[in-house]
Subunit: 414 residues, 2 copies
């Protein structure tokens, strides 16, 4: 079996100043493609620890992905450590010096002297292109182990891995068979509630379920053999049926899914936000094509109350949704009311009628997470309306205190 | 120097299903207390990899914290692997069996047979109490290296580390002194430009600089001996002077700093956003106390243009800022105009006058990052105004195409 390791470098990763999302991302991508990591490690910027770890990994692995330490500053030592570990010289790669000079010339800036270092690589390396940054990656063999060195900046790292490193691995190790992974994104339930429903399911050999939980979603993942499409689709349908009420999207994020619905249904949308303070508008704008359907949005100052007391909050949000829709001339309007104690109201006005609900939190959230949950509830009302699903589902993490629906015909009659 | 490592275990950590927040937390806590980690590693649940890694760490470290794999299920193998690596037997610790029985009795549940395994520890171990869970930790010495085994559940792990492991380390290694770290957050420049300016600085023994780059900020970090306050403050002042133009906050995030300025200056703020789509409003609301000063906000539909062509964009944003301020009755209003080609306009209206600028991006950003940069430019105008600094600085990552300032007196005269 191919032994693959990843080494993350940098004091800021080692000392926990930043969470190593590059490593989590790579692990998952490699796992899905049949290149499961057998080990990950992290060291700081000290040259001796770097060299020591590179040596250790070279003896115990077939492939190592090294991340970070390719920048222009003096604490970026990955290339130097690789040369030491491989007992070769650092040499200038003139093609990269030229790229660097062109990069800065295009920005009408003189290349800082410190960047010159980024073209110095261990002798025998093969450059891995970085089309969006100044740090090139490189591949070099040390003690018969293939090392891929990559920059720490996530966008540069990810592009390099997807477009160059993974294809190179597949070329050199064509017999690694990956797993397929399907993801069902759920909202408003708990991991144990999901697993209680799914544990009964008998999965065929080679298939298994995984869960990944992060506010506000829980992902259910079905792992199984690559290319086994017919069986996979049937299994997904079974799983979907068992947890349908909570599934907000399949194999795409909820945000992408809602964007696709908006584009498909060609519905223009306006917003009026109190508790979500612009985040709902921002959420709806994330997809550039769906953003074309976004009409105006209001963020209501925190000193202005929508509704004087809890009884009024729902009615006020409800009325505001209708008024916003009329005023903006959009097909749909969504309103998030202020949080009072532990409850909040959300309302959606459409050409078929208006829905409004007051919900309360069943657990304690940070302010930031609270905003995220309210934004998601509001977006979920839109998703449910656009997919002709019941607009008021059962959420185990939220209690519905009140709900209200008035069809368009009744609104017209007023 | 004491060599301390951390080993995280579990397929879900290795394969990136969960981000290893325990490791980030421990690294930071240990760093601040003078027990800097020299290495972190992660392996899966396979017994052979676990034993191999424990052996390797035992030869290269003085202290190792192992996290995870102490649960009751068959894939929890840390205690067994420790016994194998240390060449001792697993033996029952009756005091933990009693605790387990009491734990379940208190919940009126019969103890599942699988939990009995949690009282089986390598011979010679010392139990580390877990007051809130069924997995006890333990300390055991393998090849003269002290291993502390801890449960993966974050709350149990953290309590154990804080109340038992860290105090034990301090008792056995009383001479470890931690480091202090000061952070200067910068915006609108590059890591190489910063290091070109700071590289000349001769730092005293024990002090060094680190950089951390993530859109839209670059942090400059000054590491140095603990408690050396007078010298640290002087160094910080030196560093600050060299890069003052780009520093947006010191030892707090820019968002916190701006929130504190808003509260201190008691300035109410309204917003009108086109390119930032609600994100500026959301940014300003993040601090609950500062949110009290947020007046209304508008998000302008993407079909509505502020300004018909590039020439008009700045004038339009400028006019809109004044109108929004008057209409909302706030002290300040901030406007972000639409992105055209690669340029965008931002304007701020205050009681002292109005500032507006059109900037263009010098590099390619994702849509999301572009919004983040524009939001930060707008917030930076607010910060500069509130701290009586020049509102138009030099940004190396952005080119200023136009700027405009009209003092309040001239606005009144119109």
């Amino acid at each position: 079996m191919l032994k693959i390791a990843m080494l993350s470098t940098g004091e800021e990763v080692l000392h926990g100043d930043i969470v190593d999302t590059n490593a989590a991302w790579l692990s998952q991508l490699f796992f899905e493609n049949g290149f499961s990591l057998s080990k990950r490690s992290t060291v700081g910027d000290e040259k001796s620890s770097l060299v020591e770890e590179l040596m250790m990994l070279s003896f115990n692995s077939d492939v190592v992905i090294v991340n970070g330490g390719l920048g222009p500053t003096t604490d970026d030592l990955s290339a130097e450590a690789a040369a030491l570990a491989g007992e070769v010289e650092l040499v200038e790669y003139p093609e990269w010096t030229e790229k660097l000079e062109a990069f800065f010339a295009a920005r009408s800036v003189k290349m800082p002297e410190s960047n010159r270092k980024q073209a110095m690589l261990p002798q025998g390396s093969v450059i891995i292109d970085n089309p969006i940054g100044t740090a090139c990656g490189f591949k070099v063999t040390i003690n018969q182990c293939d090392f891929y060195f990559t920059p720490g900046v996530p966008s540069e790292f990810k592009l390099m891995v997807e477009s160059q490193i993974l294809p190179d691995l597949k070329k050199h190790h064509p017999n690694q068979t990956g797993m397929d992974c399907s993801k069902l994104h759920t909202f408003g339930t708990s991991e144990s509630a999901l697993s209680d429903k799914l544990d009964k399911l008998e999965l065929p050999e080679g298939y298994f379920l995984g869960y990944r939980s992060y506010i506000p979603y829980i992902e259910v993942k079905l792992f199984g053999p690559k290319g086994d499409m017919e069986r996979r689709v049937k299994l997904l349908q079974l799983i979907f049926k068992l947890i349908e009420e909570h599934v907000v999207s399949v194999d795409e994020s909820m945000q992408q899914h809602v964007a696709h619905l908006v584009i498909e249904k060609k519905q223009s949308i306006s917003t009026a936000e109190q508790s979500t303070q612009g985040q709902l508008s921002s959420w709806l704008h994330a997809n550039e094509d769906a953003a074309e359907y976004c009409g105006h949005g209001w963020v209501l100052g925190s000193r202005l109350d929508v509704g004087q007391n809890e009884h009024d909050a729902l009615a006020a949000a409800f009325a505001l949704a209708g008024a916003t829709k009329d005023k903006c001339g959009t097909d749909i309007s969504i309103v998030t009311g202020r949080v009072k104690e532990k409850s909040f109201s959300v309302a959606i006005a459409t050409k078929e009628g208006e829905w409004g609900q007051t919900l309360s939190f069943n657990r304690t959230y940070s302010n930031q997470d609270r905003v995220l949950v309210i934004t998601t509830v509001a977006a979920d009302m839109l998703r449910r309306y656009l997919s002709s699903k019941p607009v008021f589902p059962h959420y185990s993490s939220l209690t519905r205190e009140k709900e209200m629906f008035v069809p368009q015909s009744a609104l017209m009659a007023k």
